[in-house]
């Protein structure tokens, strides 16, 4: 059982009546080729970082069969990002303290999505959004002057949105919770499953960081909210079991009423 990654790409404005032209067809072909590369990148990341595939470099690292320098350089790159998040979260995110050994999973999905989105961006697509199993990164704007509007799922009802977050230009949103896959989020301080919150969401510039921070915020039971509020460019909110939503100041939440 895997997850699903969705892409949504925007093409440049057409100045005329919208009839397909040769350049439109070329842009379309370039975008489709970029999507293929993005998908290939995701598969590659899966092959390298999966803790479920016994022969993945990360699995071999976990078993001590290889040293870090024998793994693809991206593994060291990801672990460096992990170390920075560990420092920024006072150890609430700690891939080195997981049961079963090294487990950078909490950051890898967001990082992979950023890598995939980068393939789209490099191809010249003016705006795009990727949704990797509920974690979102985007750049550009969906339409001139419009922000990306992201609904945050209600943690108790999958058909409901809790609130909306707007991303004007590049940004990322990650949500952690146990409502989809059970108690899989581990408190690195105790090694036990984290309880206490229904969900934790982090909004920021980079999805690798947002993903890891959301995991940390969740397992901290919300204690990290204050810390995240002091990270430049990152916001967050939690939903606790009693239904209380706590958010960092300045979270770009859209609650204005429609006309």
């Amino acid at each position: 059982m895997g997850t699903v990654v969705s892409f949504s790409l925007r093409e440049a404005e057409r100045a005329t009546d919208g009839a397909p032209s040769g350049s439109d067809a070329a842009a379309r072909a370039a975008a489709e080729a970029a999507l293929e590369r993005a998908a290939a990148k995701l598969r590659w990341v899966d092959d390298v970082f999966s803790t479920w595939k016994p022969q993945s470099p990360v699995s071999r690292l976990r078993r001590g069969e290889i040293e870090l320098d024998a793994a693809p350089p991206e593994v060291a790159e990801v672990l460096e990002l992990c170390r920075r998040v560990k420092d920024a979260t006072d150890g609430w995110f700690d891939p080195w303290s997981m049961p079963g050994g090294l487990d950078p999973t909490g950051l890898v999905k967001g990082w992979a999505a950023e890598q995939a989105l980068d393939e789209i961006k490099k191809a010249g697509v003016p705006a795009a959004l990727i949704n990797a199993g509920g974690d979102i990164a985007a750049y550009g704007r969906p339409a001139p002057g419009q922000p990306w509007r992201i609904g945050i799922r209600h943690p108790l009802a999958e058909d409901r949105l809790l609130l909306m977050v707007e991303l004007d230009g590049p940004g990322a949103i990650a949500t952690s919770g146990t409502y989809e896959r059970g108690e899989h989020l581990i408190d690195p301080h105790t090694g036990a499953p984290a309880r206490g919150l229904l969900s934790a969401t982090v909004v920021g510039l980079d999805l690798a960081f947002a993903d890891a921070l959301a995991t940390a915020l969740f397992v901290s039971g919300g204690a990290l909210l204050e810390r995240i509020s002091r990270l430049a460019g990152y916001h967050g909110f939690t939903v606790s079991g009693d239904g209380i939503v706590r958010a960092t100041r300045g979270l770009p939440v859209a609650l204005k009423l429609a006309a």
């Binding site: 895997g2 890898v108 945050i152 609130l163």
Partner: protein, 163 residues
């Protein structure tokens, strides 16, 4: 000025993505979300998508997703059916969440471009709000996932519907 909001939407399904999922061979996921045309007389081109759900059956009961959109704009998101059981159903009604929901629904007149939530499995995705949104023709996302567990499916879909 004519713009084409969607060039391509594509979906990659079946990725374990180093998420800690145990890969399962040949798990076929079929989106059992059925598109229904509704007779919302007030809104031209309105479309309702209903997805029946079993994914939460263990925790919350049976829930059906219902999204109504007109010309790609969401006009309502709600429950077609929700039979809750267990203590969480009481939590919902007694929480402050409904207030926020009410405001959010009111703000949903504009397009929604994605839904963020805890990582879902391919199976759960098929009945998720994101998948329902993705089925809306002319919507901001036009991807529909079908996946299988032993590989990744890339499904570029020519979109380019103009507003």
């Amino acid at each position: 000025m004519n713009r084409s909001p969607v060039v391509i939407a594509a979906t990659v399904a079946g990725l374990a993505l180093a998420l800690g999922f145990r890969p399962q061979a040949a798990t076929t996921t079929t989106a059992n979300t059925a598109a229904l045309t509704t007779g919302n007389a007030n809104v031209s081109g309105a479309q309702t998508v209903v997805g029946s759900d079993q994914a939460l059956a263990g925790g919350l009961g049976d829930i059906q997703v219902k999204v109504t959109a007109a010309n790609g704009r969401i006009v309502s998101v709600g429950m077609a059916k929700m039979n809750l059981h267990g203590p969480q159903s009481q939590q919902i009604s007694s929480s402050v969440i409904p207030q926020l929901e009410q405001q959010t629904m009111a703000a949903n007149g504009g397009p929604i471009h994605g839904v963020s939530g805890a990582t879902y499995t391919s199976k759960a995705y098929a009945t998720s709000l994101q998948a329902a949104l993705s089925q809306l023709k002319g919507g901001s996302n036009a991807a529909l996932a079908t996946g299988n567990g032993n590989g990744s499916v890339l499904q570029p879909q020519g979109g380019g519907e103009s507003d």
